[in-house]
């Protein structure tokens, strides 16, 4: 059985006249980088707030390490809300120490680790400044550090990359992966598909309050792939089409690429033997390479939301 750090079971939540979550279940394997995807207003943040016990669910349960979650369990979770919360008038360093000590760290340990983090993220000059003097991106970094400094086993980020320029988003991504390497399980919500593709190994897609797609990213992309292959070959597309018929079909237009080769996309139905197609291509078309084409998460997201997956 898979070792799940977090299980969400049949969670429903309604606000007056609006159903925010409708029977949502999902399992987060220990050690995963878990993406919570969905269009704006799908219910991602509500789900995260329920996991963090900020909002109470109308029905359903949340299990941490297989046991129903208790109020104290939340102290072992690092949570970075989408609307960042820092005391504006407080000095950056003191504030970070305050949050770290609330998480149970000693002052000395908190200071040591925080100085380390501040140096890593290029914030060390801002230690003695007030939060209101920081730019939005820097304040977000401070928030990030405050979330992770006590190295909890479960980290939840709500839209961690929003508001960052590409360079800093990348920096943050590397830090999140670093925390993952050191053993943390990560849950992040986002509507930025590219980041899911890059760092998530599992995901759930929430649309209109329901979980419409859940599983490992690899599997989802393979399933959604629709058995499309990209072929690079010497012959023209006409020859290729004749060669593979009736086992497979040529899809769309082929295009010529450098070195006198042609690139074509073909569809091989699931029950056909791919090796047979490869043999024919090899014999008749001067095959150079053949690859299964993975759809981008963006395609999957749009197709799933539109119900055409």
């Amino acid at each position: 059985m898979v070792d799940n750090i977090l299980q969400v079971e049949h969670i429903s939540k309604s606000y007056t006249g609006h159903r925010a979550l409708d029977d949502v279940s999902l399992s987060v394997p220990r050690g995963a980088v878990y993406g919570l995807l969905g269009p704006n207003g799908a219910g991602k943040t509500t789900l995260i707030r329920i996991i963090n016990r900020i909002t109470l669910a109308d029905s359903g349960s949340v299990l941490l390490d297989g046991k129903p979650m208790q109020a104290e369990d939340i102290f072992h979770i690092g949570y970075m809300p989408e609307e960042r919360g820092l005391y504006k008038k407080m000095r950056v360093g003191e504030q970070a120490i305050f949050f770290a000590r609330l998480k149970g760290m000693s002052r000395r340990e908190a200071e040591r680790r925080l100085h380390n983090w501040f140096l890593r993220l290029g914030l060390d000059e801002w230690w003695g400044r007030k939060v209101e003097d920081l730019s939005k991106g820097m304040a977000q970094k401070v928030q990030f550090i405050s979330t992770v400094v006590h190295e909890p086993k479960l980290l939840i980020f709500d839209e961690p990359f929003s508001g960052f320029d590409p360079i800093n988003a990348n920096l943050l991504k590397d830090e999140i992966l670093g925390l993952h390497d050191r053993g943390a399980t990560i849950i992040l919500s986002t509507h930025n598909m590219a980041s899911v593709e890059e760092i998530c190994d599992h995901m759930t897609l929430i649309n209109k309050s329901r979980n419409i797609l859940s599983g490992s990213v690899e599997e989802i992309r393979r399933t959604a792939g629709g058995n499309v292959f990209e072929v690079i070959h010497r012959s023209n597309s006409q020859t290729l089409a004749e060669a593979i018929t009736p086992i497979a079909q040529l899809l769309g237009q082929s295009e010529g690429i450098v070195g006198g080769y042609t690139r074509s996309k073909i569809h091989i139905p699931k029950d056909e033997d791919v090796r047979e197609v490869i043999a024919r291509l090899n014999d008749h078309c001067g095959l150079r390479s053949i690859n299964e084409v993975m759809p981008s998460m963006n395609d999957i997201f749009i197709r799933a939301v539109n119900g055409t997956l």
């Binding site: 939340i74 102290f75 609307e83 919360g85 820092l86 407080m90 305050f98 949050f99 609330l102 998480k103």
Partner: protein
């Protein structure tokens, strides 16, 4: 408890390091002295310039006896008609107004002040005082008295008797009885009551503002992943209470050291020589360091209890709203018993032991302000103890209720909750 302590320390140290806190703490005693001295200074120097008044006297005997005062100077013009006077001495003439005295000065509406700008009580009082004096002298003269010698006689027999009040100690040894002065008790009660009122309102609203800020900046979302809402609420209330107590402690040290060193050094010789009982009592009271210190001890107990009680309400109110403006409605409701306390406090000064004074100083929502105002008058210790115990017990109950609203309110955004919703939160 450790987390609550962290929150208390944060609330406290963020506030006492503010410049505004340091400045108000040091300047407040000066400001209070200023407020006490200012009215008499204004009376002395704030009189404004002397006003010129044209007098038309139809009696023929009054105007000649009017003498100039610091407020008013008179110009006699008995020959003018009112119409002419009004024309000549209009606004451009620089004259303040026209005083018209009809032929029978004691008839109704006989004396009229026609002024070019708005008149003041000081001027009117100065005029009517002189007129009364003149008419009185005239009447005495008519009755055949020699007014000047009569006046000398009146002055020679004038007396001024002060009452020395002492508290009965059962022995009959008057010197051993504690002397008391209702005037000073009144002043002390007033100052203590007002101080308590100010602290509860200012620091109570600080709790409300700070809860709202934490909520609207979403800091609260981060905090609750580390500690419980109850810890956050109590940490905040206790932290701010500590700030208030620090401020009062600084004042206490300033005033007690003034009582110990400054008052005896400045006044003892003068006062012993003077005959003014009020002054003696004042210096006696202010120089009684033990008494002043005990007053501060009571003050701190009642301020702490009163603040904790009201701060719990303010915290609940702050948690239920999204902005300080939205909190105004709740603020008004919380203010009501505080204002009521002030009104009752005023009546306490007439009779510190009336039933209303007694009950208002036992019932927790009015007790801090009313009781602290009564204490200078000498209240049985058991009453003070009952009042304190009730106050602190009701704080526990109110804080428990407030925490139930707070723990839900801090996560609710959007519309301000109705009373029915608040009721539902209590039962959740």
């Amino acid at each position: 408890m450790n987390k609550t302590k962290l929150i208390i320390v944060r609330e406290f140290s963020e506030r006492v390091r503010k410049k505004s806190f340091i400045i108000t703490t040091l300047l407040m005693p000066l400001l209070m002295i200023g407020l006490m001295v200012a009215p008499s200074l204004m009376m002395m120097y704030g009189g404004g310039e002397q006003k010129q008044i044209v007098v038309i006297d139809r009696t023929g005997v009054v105007a000649e006896n009017l003498t100039p005062t610091p407020e008013v100077q008179y110009i006699e013009h008995n020959d003018l008609s009112i119409q002419d006077a009004c024309r000549i001495y209009g606004e451009q003439s620089g004259v303040f107004g026209i005083l018209y005295i009809g032929s029978d000065i004691e008839a109704r509406d006989s004396v009229t002040l026609i002024s070019n700008s708005s008149s003041t009580p000081v001027i009117e009082e100065s005029i009517s005082k002189q007129l009364n004096e003149i008419v009185k002298r005239n009447k005495l003269a008519e009755l055949g008295y020699d007014v000047d010698s009569l006046e000398r006689v009146m002055q020679s027999v004038e007396t001024n008797i002060d009452i020395r009040t002492r508290i009965n100690n059962g022995t009959g040894d008057m010197e051993a009885m504690e002397s008391s002065s209702s005037g000073i008790n009144y002043a002390l009660g007033m100052i203590l009551g007002m101080l308590l009122y100010m602290v509860i309102i200012l620091y109570g609203q600080m709790v409300l503002t700070s809860v709202v800020e934490e909520k609207s900046s979403r800091v609260i979302d981060v905090l609750v992943t580390s500690c419980t809402p109850f810890q956050i609420m109590m940490g905040k209330i206790l932290g701010i209470a500590l700030v208030a107590l620090t401020q009062i402690a600084v004042w206490a040290v300033l005033i007690i050291s003034a009582s110990k060193f400054l008052i005896p050094a400045l006044f003892s010789a003068e006062v012993a020589a003077s005959n003014d009982m009020m002054m003696q009592a004042l210096v006696g009271t202010l120089g009684d360091t033990g008494y002043i210190a005990s007053l501060f001890a009571y003050l701190i107990l009642f301020i702490l209890g009163g603040f904790l009680l009201y701060a719990s309400l303010y915290a609940a109110a702050g948690s239920a709203v999204d902005s300080v403006q939205d909190g105004q409605q709740f603020n008004t409701i919380i203010m009501m018993p505080i204002i009521l306390s002030l009104i009752i406090m005023m009546s306490v000064f007439n009779d510190p032991n009336s039933p209303i004074a007694f009950w208002a100083s036992i019932i927790p929502f009015t007790s801090p302000i009313v009781m602290i105002a009564r204490i200078p008058f000498g209240i049985p210790t058991w009453e003070i103890i009952v009042s304190l115990v009730t106050l602190y017990l009701s704080f526990v109950v109110v804080a428990w209720v407030a925490a139930k609203i707070y723990r839900i309110g801090i996560f609710m955004h959007g519309k301000r909750p109705s009373w029915r919703e608040l009721g539902r939160w209590l039962r959740m």
